[in-house]
C-alpha cells in the first residue's frame, strides 16, 4: 500500500495486526470511526499512546450498537475497568472479536461474559432472566420467563450445579450452527461506511 500515515508508528500497527484480526487498512478505518465519536477528545497522533478513554454513552451511540439490547454488557465486557468506558485498544478488541474471522471459542468466551450480568463466572438464573427479558423486550410474562430459564438450565447444565459454567456454555454452543454467523458485527467496509450514520430508520 505505502500510504503514509502519521497516527501510529509502524510497530504499533504491526502489533495491532498481530493481536487483532484486522488488516492495516481496517485498523485505520476503525481508528477514524473511534475518533468520529469524539473528535475533540481523540488526538490524531497515537504514537505516544495517549490514555484516552471515551465514555460509554458515546460508544453506545454508534449505529452498530445503538439498538442492540446487549450494548451495555458488550461495552462493559470489553472495557478496561468493566464500566463501559473504552480506550482505543478496547474498541479494536471489541470489533476484532465481533468480526467474521474470530474463532468460535473466542466468541463463545466473550458471549459467556456478555450474558453473565453479575460477573461471577456463572450464568445463574437471574442472569438468564435478564437476558430473556432483554431479548424479548419484557413481552413475556414472569412465569413464562421463569419457565424458559428453568428449561434452559435443565438443557444446558452438564455438571449439575444449577447454573451454567463456561464449559457448559461452550458445550452448548458447539451444537448451535448459527452462533458464528450471528455473533458478528460488521464494521469495516468501503468508504460508503461514512454515510451510514446519517441513514434514517425506515
Amino acid at each position: 500500500m505505502g500510504n503514509k500515515q502519521t497516527i501510529f508508528t509502524q510497530e504499533q500497527l504491526d502489533a495491532y495486526q498481530d493481536c487483532t484480526f484486522f488488516t492495516r487498512k481496517e485498523i485505520l478505518r476503525l481508528f477514524y470511526r473511534y475518533r468520529d465519536l469524539a473528535p475533540q477528545l481523540v488526538p490524531l497522533d497515537y504514537s505516544a499512546s495517549p490514555a484516552v478513554t471515551l465514555p460509554y454513552e458515546l460508544i453506545g451511540s454508534m449505529p452498530e450498537l445503538k439498538d442492540n439490547p446487549f450494548r451495555q454488557r458488550i461495552a462493559e465486557v470489553f472495557s478496561e475497568h468493566g464500566d463501559g468506558n473504552m480506550t482505543l485498544d478496547d474498541f479494536l478488541d471489541m470489533f476484532s472479536v465481533l468480526s467474521e474471522m474470530a474463532p468460535r471459542d473466542l466468541k463463545a468466551y466473550y458471549a459467556f461474559k456478555i450474558y453473565d450480568y453479575n460477573n461471577d463466572d456463572y450464568i445463574c438464573k437471574s442472569d438468564l432472566e435478564k437476558t430473556v427479558n432483554k431479548l424479548t423486550r419484557n413481552e413475556l410474562t414472569p412465569e413464562e420467563v421463569s419457565l424458559v430459564c428453568e428449561k434452559v438450565i435443565y438443557e444446558a447444565d452438564v455438571d449439575n450445579d444449577g447454573k451454567l459454567s463456561l464449559a457448559d456454555f461452550q458445550h452448548m454452543i458447539v451444537r448451535a450452527p448459527d452462533f458464528l454467523r450471528y455473533l458478528v458485527s460488521l464494521i469495516t467496509t468501503t468508504e460508503q461506511e461514512k454515510t451510514l450514520p446519517q441513514r434514517t430508520n425506515i
Binding site: 504491526d14 445503538k66 431479548l135 424479548t136 423486550r137 438443557e155 449439575n160 448451535a176 448459527d178
Partner: protein, 771 residues
C-alpha cells in the same frame, strides 16, 4: 437434569506421575494449580450447600450467592488442604501437564479485566486466594514471564495463532507480544529470521486486505444483512455461489472451445439479418453462431489438410500443435462438470459441518444464539425481538403439547388431511406434466401445419417456455393454499413441505422436457441439426425464466406493496419468500447445466441473468419488503439448499449429459461429432489414433481400455466407497455413544464430589465442636 445426589462412592483414578521430581520452577505452577483447585472447590461447596438446603427445605427460596472473593468462614484450612491434595487434583505437579495446560488449554490465562482486579476478576484460576502469601503484583509478573516463555518456545505461526485466539485484552496481548524483544529473554534473537518473518507477515497482511476489498458486493450484502438479518442474506449468498460456479464453467469453455473456434471460423452460412427477436428466441441470426453446438467444426483446427477431401494425399506437413476440436469440446464439458462437482461437494460438506445440530437443547440455543448482532436498524431490531418472543412462546407451547397426548381421532383426522394434501399436490403436478406433454404435441403439429412465416414460427416456439414458466409461477401459490388447509404444527415442517412439493413439480417438468429433447419425438424432430434446436430451446427457457422472475418481483413485491399501502391502508409489507426464490434460482441453474453441451455460451447468459437479478432483487427488497416473520434457521436452510443444488439438480443434469454422451446419436451434418455413432466414440477414436501415432504411449491406451472401461473395476470401486462410508458412519455412532457415557460420568462425578466435600466438612466440624 437436577437429581438428588447419589450415595455411591466413586474411587478416583490414580495420580499422574507422582514419581517426577519437583523443580523450583514447578513450585510456582504447583501454587497456581492449588489456587485454582481451592477456588473451584469453594464454589462447589457453595453449590453443594445450596443443594442440601434445597433438599431440606423445599419451600424456602434459594440463598443468594455469596460475593465472590470472600473467604468462606466455615471451612478450616485443614479441610481445604485435604481437598487440595485429592489425587485427581495433583495433576498440576507434573511438568508436562502444566506446560500443556499453559499452551493448549488457555483457560488459565483468560483474564478480563486484567489481573489486578480481584473482586471482578474473570476466572477462578486467577483469583488470589488467601492462602498465598506473595503480593499480587509479583504473582502477576511471574505468570506473565511463564507465559511469555511458553510463547517463545512455540513457532512464530503458532505463537501468533495463540496470541490471536487467547481471550486476553488487547493491552495485555501487546505487552506479551512486546516482551520477547524486551529484557525477558537474555539474548535477543538473531535479526535475520525475525526480519524475514516480519516481512512475510507484512506481505501476507497486504494480500489479505487486497482480497477483502476485492470481494464483490461486500457493502450491498452488509446493507441487506443489517436490515433483514441472516435469513434473507442467505438467498443473496446463494446467488453469489451460483455466479461463481457459472464463472468457472464459462471460463473453461471459453478458453478451450469458444475462443479457438472463433479464431478459426468454420465455413460461413449466409448470415441472416439481426432483428431484436433473436434475443428472445435464440433463433434467426443466432442459429449459426458460436452460441450453439452446430457451429463447431469436427476437425483438427490448425491442420491445413483438414479441408481437403478424405483419402487424397496431403503434401503439407502436420502442424506442430494439432488442436482437435471435438476432443477439446468433449473434455471441456467434462472438466467443467467435474470442477462444478468438486466445488459443490466441497460447499455441501463445509456447510454441513457447520449446520449439524442436535434436537436437544433447542431452547437454550434459542436464548443464547438467536440474536443476530448484524441487525442494526431500529425497526428490524424490534422485529427481531418480536420474532424471538414468538419463537420462545412457540417452543414453550410445543414442549407443553408434547406432554399432552392428542386424542386418537384428532391424530387420525390430521393424518388423513396430510395424506389428502399430498395426494392433491402430487396429482396436480402429474396433471400439469401430462397437460404439458399434450400441449407440446399440439403445438408441434400446429407448427408443422402452419405456413412458413418466420416470425409466426418463432413466436410459436416461445409458447412452450411461457407455459412452463407460468406453471412454475402459479403452482407454488396452490401449494401455499394446501399448506394453509393442512395446518402443520411447526413452521419448519411447513417450509420443508413447501420446498419438497415445489421441487417435485420442477423436477417432473424438467424430466418431461429432457425426455422430449432426447427422444426428439415432439421438439426438433424436423430439424437436421437437432442439438442446435435443443440448445435454442434451452436458451428460450432461460430467457423466459428471467422474464417471469422479473414479472414476479414486479407484481409480487412492488404492486402488492402499493395495494397494501394505498388500498388496504396497512403498514404491513410483502415478505420476501426465501424458499421460493431459491428454488427459482436452482431451476435456472439446472437449465444451464442441462444445456452446456448444446450451447457452450449458455453459462455466460446465465451469468448475465444472475448479475441483473442481484441488483433488481436487492432494489425491490430494499424498497418493498419487510423481514420474514417466520423463524428461519439460516445455517440449516443454506445446507439444505446447497444439498438440493447438488443432488437432484446437478446429479440430474450430469445423468442427462452422461446419457447424451453415451447413447444418443449426434446429427450427421453439423457439430463437432457429426458422423459418429455416439459422442463417446470420439474419445475412443482418439485413443486409437494416439496409440497408432506414438507407440511409446501404449500404456495409456491399455489403462484406458482395461481400467476406465472395465465394468468390473468400477463395481469394485463402488463397493469400496460404500464400505468406507459405512465404516465412517459406524465410527460416528460409536463416538456418540462415548459422548453420552462421558456426560453421564461428568454428572456422577459432580455429585460424588459434592457428597465427599460435605462429609469432609461435617467431619471437621464435629472435630471442632468436640475440641
Amino acid at each position: 437434569m437436577s437429581q438428588p445426589p447419589s450415595i455411591t462412592l466413586h474411587v478416583p483414578e490414580g495420580t499422574e506421575s507422582d514419581g517426577q521430581e519437583l523443580s523450583p520452577d514447578n513450585e510456582r505452577a504447583l501454587h497456581t494449580s492449588f489456587h485454582q483447585l481451592i477456588l473451584e472447590q469453594s464454589s462447589l461447596i457453595e453449590a453443594g450447600l445450596e443443594l442440601e438446603l434445597q433438599e431440606r427445605s423445599r419451600g424456602k427460596a434459594l440463598q443468594p450467592q455469596p460475593e465472590q472473593g470472600e473467604e468462606h468462614p466455615s471451612y478450616s484450612s485443614a479441610s481445604l488442604q485435604i481437598l487440595a491434595s485429592m489425587p485427581s487434583r495433583t495433576i498440576g505437579r507434573s511438568l508436562g501437564a502444566v506446560i500443556s495446560q499453559y499452551c493448549n488449554r488457555t483457560a488459565r490465562l483468560r483474564s478480563r479485566p486484567p489481573l489486578q482486579q480481584l473482586c471482578r476478576a474473570a476466572r477462578p484460576s486467577l483469583r488470589q486466594y488467601g492462602l498465598d502469601t506473595d503480593p499480587a503484583g509479583a504473582t502477576l509478573q511471574e505468570k506473565r514471564r511463564l507465559l511469555v516463555k511458553e510463547l517463545l518456545s512455540l513457532s512464530p505461526s503458532q505463537c501468533s495463532h495463540m496470541l490471536l485466539t487467547m481471550p486476553l485484552s488487547l493491552a495485555e496481548k501487546r505487552i506479551l507480544r512486546g516482551a520477547p524483544w524486551g529484557s525477558v529473554a537474555g539474548s535477543s534473537p538473531t535479526a535475520l529470521p525475525v526480519l524475514l518473518s516480519q516481512g512475510c507477515r507484512g506481505l501476507w497482511y497486504r494480500l489479505l486486505s487486497l482480497l477483502r476489498t476485492a470481494q464483490p458486493w461486500h457493502y450491498a450484502l452488509k446493507q441487506i444483512g443489517g436490515r433483514f438479518g441472516s435469513s434473507v442474506l442467505s438467498y443473496f449468498l446463494f446467488l453469489k455461489t451460483l455466479l461463481m460456479l457459472n464463472f468457472f464453467s464459462f471460463f473453461i469453455l471459453l478458453a478451450f472451445v469458444v475462443v479457438v473456434q472463433a479464431v478459426y471460423p468454420s465455413a460461413p452460412v449466409s448470415p441472416q439479418p439481426f432483428t431484436g427477436l433473436e434475443l428472445l428466441t435464440g433463433a434467426g441470426s443466432f442459429t449459426h453462431s458460436l452460441l450453439y453446438y452446430g457451429y463447431y467444426s469436427n476437425v483438427t483446427l490448425n491442420d491445413p489438410c483438414s479441408s481437403s477431401p478424405k483419402g487424397s494425399e496431403c503434401p503439407l506437413t502436420a502442424p506442430p500443435l494439432p488442436y482437435n476440436l471435438p476432443l477439446a469440446y468433449l473434455f471441456s464439458v467434462g472438466v467443467s462438470f467435474l470442477v462444478t462437482c468438486i466445488l459443490l461437494v466441497y460447499s455441501v460438506s463445509h456447510s454441513f459441518r457447520e449446520s449439524v445440530g442436535s434436537s436437544t437443547g433447542v431452547l437454550a440455543i434459542k436464548v443464547f444464539c438467536a440474536w443476530d448482532f448484524k441487525v442494526m436498524q431500529k425497526r428490524s431490531v424490534k422485529l427481531q425481538c418480536q420474532n424471538i418472543c414468538t419463537q420462545l412462546k412457540e417452543l414453550l407451547v410445543e414442549q407443553r403439547c408434547r406432554s399432552r397426548s392428542q386424542s386418537r381421532l384428532q391424530c387420525l383426522g390430521h393424518c388423513l388431511v396430510v395424506l389428502l394434501a399430498w395426494l392433491l399436490a402430487l396429482g396436480s403436478a402429474s396433471g400439469c406434466v401430462l397437460a404439458l406433454h399434450r400441449f407440446s404435441e399440439h403445438m408441434h403439429t400446429e407448427l408443422q401445419a402452419q405456413g412458413s412465416d418466420r416470425w409466426q414460427q418463432e413466436a410459436v416456439l416461445l409458447v412452450l417456455p411461457l407455459v412452463v414458466s407460468l406453471l412454475n409461477a402459479l403452482m407454488p401459490h396452490l401449494y401455499n393454499l394446501l399448506a394453509m388447509w393442512e395446518k402443520q404444527d411447526s413452521p419448519v415442517t411447513q417450509v420443508s413441505v413447501a420446498i419438497v412439493r415445489n421441487l417435485i413439480l420442477k423436477m417432473m417438468v424438467l424430466s418431461l422436457l429432457c425426455y422430449q429433447w432426447l427422444s426428439r419425438s415432439v421438439i426438433c424432430s424436423t430439424e437436421e441439426c437437432w442439438e442446435t434446436c435443443v440448445g435454442q430451446d434451452l436458451y428460450r427457457f432461460t430467457v423466459m425464466d428471467f422474464i417471469f422472475t422479473l414479472l414476479d418481483t414486479l407484481f409480487g413485491e412492488l404492486i402488492w406493496r402499493l395495494i397494501l399501502e394505498k388500498r388496504l391502508k396497512t403498514k404491513q409489507r410483502p415478505e420476501f419468500d426465501i424458499a421460493r426464490n431459491v428454488l427459482e434460482l436452482m431451476y435456472g441453474q439446472t437449465l444451464t447445466w442441462l444445456g452446456i453441451l448444446f450451447a457452450p455460451l449458455l453459462p455466460a447468459v446465465q451469468m448475465l441473468k444472475l448479475l441483473l437479478l442481484f441488483y433488481i432483487k436487492k432494489t425491490s427488497l430494499m424498497r418493498n419488503c419487510q423481514s420474514p416473520s417466520k423463524p428461519w434457521q439460516a445455517s440449516r436452510m443454506s445446507t439444505v439448499f446447497i444439498t438440493l443444488l447438488c443432488f437432484p439438480s446437478f446429479l440430474g443434469a450430469a445423468a442427462f449429459l452422461s446419457y447424451t454422451i453415451w447413447s444418443v446419436q449426434p446429427s450427421e451434418t453439423c457439430g463437432p461429432f457429426r458422423g459418429l455413432e455416439t459422442i463417446y466414440k470420439s474419445g475412443k477414436r482418439w485413443v486409437l489414433v494416439l496409440e497408432k501415432s506414438n507407440p511409446n504411449i501404449t500404456w495409456f491406451a491399455w489403462v484406458y481400455q482395461h481400467l476406465l472401461e472395465n465394468a468390473g473395476l468400477q463395481f469394485f470401486m463402488s463397493v469400496g466407497l460404500i464400505a468406507v462410508i459405512y465404516f465412517n458412519i459406524q465410527v460416528v455412532r460409536g463416538r456418540q455413544k462415548v459422548i453420552c457415557l462421558l456426560q453421564e460420568q461428568i454428572a456422577n462425578e459432580g455429585q460424588d464430589k459434592v457428597f465427599l466435600i460435605q462429609k469432609l466438612h461435617s467431619v471437621y466440624e464435629q472435630r471442632q465442636r468436640r475440641s
